[in-house]
């Protein structure tokens, strides 16, 4: 009889790369502040992102106060309102979501999940964070600059973005915004190269690409996309900065302002839109793909079932990533482009629904007859699926040219993108924090606070964004601080606006409970042990919790299987860790 027991020395190829000695910090400063450990950098990234995100949260309250109760708050002038929406959007999309998913979760999870000791270039990784911090500080500085931050809208469309009529246009606001974005892109590139190379070249023995957890696949694909999409934003920012500072006319046509001919002429505002959305649309998926990956792992772990259709899930992530580069002009249907152009981009946009639908079906089929544990991370994961389907369906409306044109620039669009790339990814971020907090700190987050946080956030965000669809459908435009007298501003619409604002305030305050929970549980949370969720992936198999510098002690783990061996018949437990050479299963799983 053939001995089928897998053995590392026989079945797994030997190590190809000699281990590089890690930098050993000698002082408190190099251990906790200027740290080259990806885990510390991850926490620094996350802390900074959450801090600036809180600013954006407060800005959203101020906006909702104005929209819900127009005329009540004197200090919210139209200029201030424009500044609020601009900074809220820019901070949430780039400085919070992108930084938290890639800089935060990417740094923490990639090395642990692929069995690496750290990122491949820890020093460059550290620089990445410090440049990101600088970008955030420059951004925050614009609140205190003369004239305040820019009020150009988060899309920064020229020519208005650099003209005097827009807040910050002829002051420091737009300059600081552009400089901050350029810094962010430089910093992100340093980190992103690390994440990509670590996944491609830094995996442990036995960790093939098709054994990686979907979290790593999502973050990796998003990183590659970001490395190819941010250049367009970089170029757009440099050119607009020159338009503003040097007086070039890249994006500036001949203009008359206040009866006076400006010195600009011959530039193309549409060129900016193309560059911006060549970045901007992939950006949506840069935020969504890590969420897709993480939610797959949450659902599989908490339903005690292998993910349904792992290979399809991987290919769907890759195909969504590729397709997202050829759909950008669906943000520009009303820019006056050629109708054939719109036809092409509507088609590619709707094709993206296919791999996306595959993913949703696979999540649901993973739940099918699973042993579902309604833990807090699972609740957030389920909320994500529902919210993502809702937001995705309205995307089908907006992706079609004839439906989009009347809906363009209404609150319907605001409701759509908040559902699909605001609420949905944030649900995953919360779920992921509840899921991995025990690994990061060694303690569980307090459950009743988590339940409270979940239900208020979930119900509350529907209270905010469901009515907003209706408000948009009747014709309320976005970006207006006050509508005044209009046929569609009926009593129901006014009441809904007030209702949305109250809901937004309540949801906002529920986040304070979450933040309190983070701090409280650090000291008083229940001891978690190394693997409280009984999960299979490598980060739960570290020798100590929290994982030490270098992650693995003397030997890196050897991987024998994929990350989804839950409830395997005949196994001693209902999960088999990836580094467990338990027999019989090796041949049955995807290589």
């Amino acid at each position: 009889m053939v001995d089928a027991t897998p053995r590392a020395e026989r079945d797994i190829p030997p190590a190809e790369v000699p281990e590089l000695e890690l930098y050993h910090p000698k002082s408190w400063w190099t251990t906790y502040v200027f740290s080259q450990d990806a885990k510390v950098i991850a926490i620094q990234y996350s802390g900074t992102a959450v801090a600036i995100g809180l600013v954006a949260l407060v800005l959203s309250w101020l906006m909702r106060l104005q929209l819900g109760f127009p005329g009540t708050f004197d200090f919210i002038t139209p200029e201030a309102y424009y500044q609020f929406i601009t900074m809220h959007g820019m901070i949430m999309v780039i400085y919070l979501l992108t930084a938290l998913f890639l800089g935060g979760f990417g740094n923490y999870l990639i090395p642990l999940m692929v069995g690496a000791r750290d990122m491949v270039f820890p020093y460059v990784n550290m620089l990445s964070f410090w440049i990101y911090l600088l970008a955030v500080l420059v951004l925050a500085a614009s609140f205190f600059a003369p004239g305040g931050p820019t009020g150009a809208g988060w899309t920064l469309y020229p020519p208005q973005a650099i003209l005097g009529g827009t807040p910050g246009g002829q002051d420091w606001g737009i300059i600081l915004m552009l400089v901050s974005l350029i810094l962010f892109i430089i910093g992100f590139t340093m980190g992103g190269l690390n994440y990509a190379v670590t996944v491609i070249q830094g995996r442990t023995r036995g960790m093939t690409l098709m054994r990686m957890p979907l979290t790593v696949w999502g973050i990796f694909t998003a990183t590659v996309m970001a490395l190819l999409a941010f250049p367009a934003l970089f170029v757009a920012c440099v050119m607009m900065l020159f338009d503003r500072v040097l007086g070039t006319s890249f994006f500036m046509p001949a203009l008359v302002e206040m009866g006076e001919q400006l010195s600009y002429g011959g530039g193309s505002p549409i060129l900016f839109q193309h560059l911006f959305w060549f970045f901007g649309h992939p950006e949506v998926y840069i935020v969504a793909l890590p969420a897709f990956g993480i939610v797959s792992d949450l659902i599989s772990t908490h339903a005690r079932k292998n993910i349904f259709g792992y290979r399809m899930m991987v290919w769907a992530i890759v195909i969504i990533g590729a397709l997202s580069f050829i759909v950008w002009a669906h943000h520009m249907y009303v820019s006056g482009m050629h109708p054939w152009f719109g036809f092409f981009f509507a088609t590619t946009t709707l094709i993206i629904a296919v791999p996306t639908a595959i993913k949703v079906y696979n999540w649901v089929l993973t739940l099918w007859r699973g042993d579902i544990h309604l833990t807090v991370p699972m609740l957030f994961a389920l909320a994500f699926i529902v919210t993502f389907v809702n937001g995705g369906l309205t995307g089908l409306f907006l992706g079609n040219v004839v439906v989009d044109v009347p809906l363009s620039d209404t609150m319907f669009v605001v409701a759509h993108f908040h559902m699909v790339m605001g609420v949905a990814p944030i649900m995953v971020i919360f779920g992921a924090i509840y899921h991995w907090y025990p690994k990061i700190t060694g303690r569980m987050l307090e459950d009743w606070m988590g339940q409270f946080h979940f239900w208020v956030t979930f119900v509350g965000s529907y209270a905010i964004f469901f009515p907003m669809h209706y408000v948009g459908l009747v014709g309320v435009p976005r970006r207006y601080p006050e509508i005044g007298e209009a046929a569609f501003m009926t009593a129901p619409v006014d009441n809904l606006n007030a209702f949305i604002s109250v809901a937004a305030l309540i949801v906002g305050f529920a986040q304070m409970v979450f933040l309190f929970n983070l701090v409280w549980s650090l000291r008083f949370g229940k001891e978690a042990g190394p693997n409280p969720w009984r999960a299979t992936s490598l980060e739960w198999q570290t020798p100590t919790t929290p994982p030490p510098h270098g992650n693995w002690g003397d030997e890196r783990p050897v991987v024998y299987r994929w990350a989804y061996d839950y409830s395997v018949p005949g196994a001693p437990e209902d999960f088999i860790p990836q580094n467990d050479p338990w027999p019989e299963k090796v041949a049955a799983r995807p290589a």
Binding site: E16, L20, I200, Q201, G202, R205, V235, V238, M239, F250
Partner: protein
């Protein structure tokens, strides 16, 4: 690829050839690119990202040039030098391009000598590459000075569309910055080769990673990329 195995990151000897080899590599554990070290992989991916930056710059330039309503200045007269009583179109840019492309040749030879552990020749060729890079930047400064004295500004010029000066200074400036950084790093690498840092595996001051002759090749990847980008800038600005 005897050279690449010298760095300790070499490929395993028994691998299938052709497409089957590619599939086998991507299906394997640990690494997808079996003969590339971390540093080389990272440089390749960075260059891919940088390609998108230059691509966006050049596309923006083409858009500006095609959509402007004012005539575009005539390249062959704008970029001509008056030498010995005759206007010689594109003479300066021809010399600049020749120098930069030649520096790619000396860079490639430096990489070869580095893997042969010939420190003396490596240093000479690296310094020669840096010298030609610096010469290129110097001639570019001369060209900028000439254009500026003739009245070309980012916001306008005497001959036509104002976007001419804007795109020209922006794109050649961005490329010149790349060359300048390349020269600085060439000098750093040359110094390390000269001191024998790569023989002893001396640790980097910032990164505390051991030095390796492979750094010369990684440096070379960047340098060849900068040269290749120049070919496109040359074609789109001077020959169009």
């Amino acid at each position: 690829m005897a050279e690449t195995s010298l760095n300790g990151f070499g490929a395993q000897p028994t691998r299938p050839n052709g497409m089957r080899g590619v599939v086998a590599d991507w299906a394997s554990d640990q690494r997808a690119f079996k003969s590339a070290s971390w540093g080389k992989s990272m440089m390749w991916i960075f260059l891919l990202s940088d390609t998108f930056i230059f691509g966006c710059f050049l596309l923006a330039y083409m858009t500006a040039r095609m959509s402007t309503t004012v005539p575009w200045p005539d390249a062959s007269s704008v970029f001509a030098l008056h030498i010995g009583g005759a206007d010689m179109p594109l003479i300066l840019i021809a010399i600049m391009t020749f120098v930069l492309i030649s520096s790619s040749g000396t860079m490639a030879m430096a990489v070869n000598f580095a893997y042969r552990r010939n420190r003396r020749m490596t240093v000479i060729l690296l310094l020669l590459t840096a010298l030609m890079g610096a010469t290129f930047v110097g001639m570019q400064a001369f060209e900028w000075t000439k254009l500026i004295t003739e009245g070309v500004r980012p916001w306008g010029n005497p001959w036509g569309a104002p976007q001419f000066g804007a795109t020209f200074f922006m794109i050649t400036g961005f490329h010149g910055t790349h060359v300048t950084f390349g020269v600085i790093f060439l000098l750093i690498v040359a110094r390390k080769v000269w001191r024998g840092d790569y023989d002893r595996g001396t640790r980097g001051f910032f990164t505390s990673r051991p030095g390796d002759y492979e750094h010369v090749e990684t440096m070379g990847l960047y340098w060849h990329f900068v040269d290749l980008v120049w070919v496109f800038i040359f074609a789109f600005f001077y020959l169009w």
